[in-house]
């Protein structure tokens, strides 16, 4: 994310000074949020008619900051899971890969997100390796526990860590893929319980 240097010459000199100052102290997501005039840290409360733009701040599987605000004006699908999930997550990711493949180039008009609710184990590198087995358009997201919790809160994507005897743990989480329109409204869900045709149809409706 560029800071002061990215600001175009259309803005005045004083604005550029302010931006440089901001850039020095705030993270890139806050910069975008400030630019768009949205206060950061407020979860996207799509179901209760909340913010019209997603505001989570996470890190993608390439290690780059990913700001929810970057999704403004784009439909997206978001799914919460973790790479130590043997069943639902690989199945849902494969289903979404197949659905994206059915859409072909049209699938580029939506963003598909896989957010880890297990950031302790799911580093960007772990996510990158995992997602290399699925459609390249799926973006993996992780971050700190707080960042992930804030993102999940927006969809009430309930997740819990259950400690096992041997010091490991497993995660309880929502199995839905949430479908969000361009105005950040939850318009539906899909997942492994839908047929392949239905999954592709739901994604297509998002981009129409």
């Amino acid at each position: 994310m560029q800071t002061g240097g990215a600001i175009s010459t259309a803005t005045g000199r004083s604005a550029r000074r302010v931006w440089r100052g901001l850039g020095a102290t705030l993270g890139p997501c806050l910069l975008i949020a400030a630019w768009l005039g949205v206060s950061s840290g407020v979860p996207a409360l799509a179901q209760s008619g909340g913010s019209d733009r997603p505001t989570f701040e996470l890190i993608d599987h390439n290690g780059k900051a990913f700001c929810g605000a970057a999704l403004v004006g784009r439909p997206y699908a978001i799914f919460f899971g973790f790479t130590h999930c043997p069943d639902v997550c690989p199945t849902t990711l494969m289903a979404m890969s197949n659905a994206l493949r059915r859409l072909g180039a049209a699938g580029d008009r939506l963003t598909m997100l896989f957010v880890s609710v297990d950031p302790e184990r799911d580093t960007p590198e772990q996510l990158r390796r995992y997602l290399s087995s699925f459609d390249a358009r799926i973006i993996g997201l992780t971050g700190t526990q707080a960042q992930v919790a804030a993102a999940a809160q927006g969809w009430k994507a309930f997740h819990n860590k259950i400690p096992e005897d041997d010091g490991t743990y497993t995660i309880v989480h929502s199995a839905y893929v949430y479908l969000m329109d361009r105005a950040n409204r939850l318009v539906g869900t899909t997942g492994f319980e839908d047929s392949e045709e239905e999954q592709a149809a739901k994604l297509r409706r998002l981009i129409d």
Binding site: T83, P86, Q126, H173, S174, G191, E196
Partner: protein, 187 residues
């Protein structure tokens, strides 16, 4: 005639999960068999094993995504005896452990838990471990499971003891053993 029937049955068994319907369709259309003769009793998909009075059918698992350290495995167990038994887990050379887990999805929330005392199979009962329900969990995988490359492991039962089985490896995220055959997959 018998030989042709055998071949046709095997071919349709290989191509569709609903054997009787496909057999009739194949015969009606007169379509040539897609596969050469395969042993009826045991296709690659349907290995079965006996240990004590337990019958274990069709163990299968899925290829694992890159870097995945866990995998799920599924099978059917029938207790033909008069005493209950329990599936405790097993071993797999490339995994640190093989555990038994229960999974349920309620109102869209997925819950998974390890069954510390294993899974009971009552006399006369058939228990099916399948996606979305009970499964074996391979943990600490040291290498990826590859589609089409079966792997051997053991199952451990409380009374019947240990038995070696071979798992067929379906594609990543295959929704079911049969469903894997119907879908096109990413590679």
């Amino acid at each position: 005639m018998k030989a042709i029937t055998l071949v046709l049955v095997a071919a349709t068994a290989a191509s569709s999960p609903t054997l009787p319907l496909s057999l009739c369709a194949a015969m009606r259309l007169g379509s040539p068999p897609r596969a050469v003769a395969v042993a009826l009793a045991e296709t690659a998909a349907d290995k079965s094993y006996k240990v004590g009075l337990l019958v274990i059918e069709a163990p299968w698992t899925r290829a694992t995504p890159g870097g995945a350290e866990v995998g799920g495995a599924y099978l059917k167990i029938t207790n033909t005896g008069a005493e209950p038994d329990r599936l405790l887990g097993g071993t797999l050379p490339i995994a640190a452990a093989v555990e038994v887990h229960a999974m349920s999805v309620t109102d869209g929330v997925m819950k998974m838990r390890k069954l510390e005392t294993g899974l009971e199979i009552k006399p006369g009962q058939t228990v099916e471990l399948k996606p979305g329900g009970y499964h074996l969990m391979f943990t600490g995988l040291r290498q990826a499971l590859q589609q089409g490359q079966p792997i051997k492991g053991t199952l451990q039962f409380e009374k019947a003891g240990s038995v070696e089985v071979e798992y067929r490896v379906e594609p990543i995220g295959a929704p079911s053993r049969e469903g894997a055959k119907k879908e096109r997959h990413m590679h």
